[in-house]
């Protein structure tokens, strides 16, 4: 491996790589944000919902969690088109990842809420808090601490899953890397470099998660 030659090629290829990193980050960020918002709703219904609504959401989570992300990506690109929702590759990909993310976050939220002892809810009732108040001041903050590590894990999974969007032609980091390899014939070097970039992105997410954990931890 000729390092100097690779660095030269890498420098010339900096724009496509940066664009790829940008697309990877936008896909992941959108999927994580939308998936988390929907996922919190899913988690609340799974924990406190009743009857048909809960069965429906239960079915949704089980179905999505039991499906490979690649299948979701292909389905949202091809199958939605046949029922009139014709999404572009980027939108279809973000949609699929957000749906996948929401089912995972839903389960994380449910697990966190159910791990809080019943006595907490009862105590809140005893001092006259309404349910929204109970959630905002008693259950929410405790659940947040419980779910953070698992949520960071899911977020990192989303970044990795974003590589699957290269299949439907979204110019994210992996596809950009493959494009560069086809021109330069330097496969090992570019795949290693892409791996490094993915690590940096995920390490950033991990540090961010740790930061939030510190901010929300109970002062001792």
């Amino acid at each position: 491996m000729d390092i100097a030659a690779f660095l030269h090629v890498l420098w010339l290829a900096r724009m496509p790589i940066l664009k790829g990193v940008g697309v990877t980050i936008s896909i992941s960020a959108l999927a994580i944000v939308v998936g988390t918002l929907v996922g919190v709703g899913v988690g609340l219904v799974l924990t406190y919902g009743k009857g048909p609504l809960r069965w429906l959401v239960r079915g949704y989570t089980d179905f999505i969690r039991g499906t490979p992300v690649l299948v979701l990506v292909l389905a949202s690109y091809y199958v939605l088109g046949t029922v009139g929702v014709d999404l572009g590759p980027f939108e279809a990909g973000v949609f699929a990842l957000a749906v996948f993310c929401s089912s995972h976050v839903g389960e994380i939220v449910r697990g966190a809420l159910q791990s809080i002892p019943r006595g907490q809810t009862e105590a809140a009732k005893a001092i006259g808090l309404t349910f929204p108040q109970t959630f905002a001041y008693v259950l929410g903050p405790q659940a947040l601490r419980q779910m953070l590590p698992a949520w960071v894990n899911t977020a990192a999974e989303m970044v990795k899953a974003s590589t699957l969007l290269s299949i439907i032609g979204v110019g994210e980091l992996l596809l950009r890397t493959q494009e560069l390899i086809s021109r330069t014939f330097m496969s090992l070097e570019f795949y290693l470099f892409a791996g490094l970039l993915y690590f940096v992105i995920n390490y950033g997410i991990e540090r961010f998660g740790r930061y939030i954990e510190r901010k929300t931890s109970v002062p001792s």
Binding site: L12, A13, M15, P16, K19, Y78, G81, T82, P89, S166, I167, I168, G169, G171, L175, Q178, E179, L180, I181, S182, R183, F185, M186, S187, L188
Partner: protein
């Protein structure tokens, strides 16, 4: 009387409705013309067919074929939008209307022809052998004469071994995971020749002038053609006409220029007089 009047009115309504329904089944050709640009599916990771230039522009022989069709449509080769797709997506993207046309080094096979309509072929691919210019073996005959003494590097594939043995029955076959590694094997002397698609070889030789040579033998022929959705003869005829005239008629110069750029070979202009295709 009243009933027959009703029937006549109904029949009249039916007739007047017919042109409207015929309008709804209009060809992709009209749709593309009305839209004002062509949407072509292709890849971005295979030189010299469809890949990105150093300034991040899509280029290659497939891309030029698309531009030829765009020029036939709008008299402007730039009125084309490319949808990047993986090889697996070639057929689904045609059948689900994501693209008007796919030109992505698609090998014509009977199985695929049942799913999409193929245009006329625009290239005949085959496997070739590349040697080092100053190497031990001069050409294909020398490689064959050397029998089991030669090592051939190929891309890993289930049929790689039998593919090489079709041309060199006794040669040793070394399989590698990626394209750069098969070339590296030749460069480092671990292999005596590389066997892969001739288009890839000629592109590589053009990128590294005077270092390699073609052994002068090709086998495993396969036709590359564009694909369109089945059941639209008008559109298929149009793309066929555009490609045909690029290879034999008014657009020959742009086809030949592209051929020279990507495969490094000059084409003889079609013979004037009796049409070449009936020779």
């Amino acid at each position: 009387m009243k009933l027959s009047l009703l029937a006549a009115t109904a029949a009249l309504a039916l007739i007047s409705a017919m042109p409207a329904s015929a309008q709804e089944n209009k060809s992709k050709l009209d749709e593309v013309l009305a839209r004002g640009h062509l949407i072509m599916g292709t890849g971005s990771t295979n030189a010299p067919w469809h890949f990105k230039s150093i300034d991040d522009k899509l280029q290659g022989f497939d891309i030029d074929m698309g531009r030829i069709v765009a020029k036939a449509l709008f008299n402007d080769p730039g009125k084309i939008e490319f949808v990047i797709q993986s090889s697996d997506a070639r057929i689904p993207n045609i059948t689900t209307n994501k693209v008007d046309l796919t030109c992505q080094f698609m090998t014509v096979t009977g199985e695929r022809a049942q799913q999409v309509a193929f245009t006329i072929p625009y290239y005949r691919e085959g496997v070739g052998l590349m040697l080092k210019a100053d190497g031990k073996y001069a050409d294909y005959a020398a490689l064959k004469a050397a029998g089991s003494g030669v090592t051939i590097s190929v891309l890993q594939n289930v049929y790689a071994e039998s593919m090489v043995h079709a041309a060199l029955p006794e040669a040793k076959v070394d399989q590698y995971d990626s394209v750069d590694l098969i070339y590296q094997a030749l460069e480092s002397g671990r292999a005596d020749a590389v066997a892969t698609d001739q288009s890839s070889l000629s592109w590589y030789m053009q990128q590294n002038p005077d270092r390699y040579k073609d052994a002068g033998y090709g086998w495993n022929p396969q036709s590359y053609a564009c694909g369109v959705k089945r059941g639209d003869q008008d559109w298929l005829n149009f793309v066929d006409t555009a490609l045909h005239e690029a290879m034999t008629g008014v657009e020959f110069d742009s086809y030949a220029k592209s051929f020279k750029t990507w495969f490094g070979k000059d084409l003889e202009p079609p013979q004037i007089g009796f049409p070449v295709e009936y020779k």
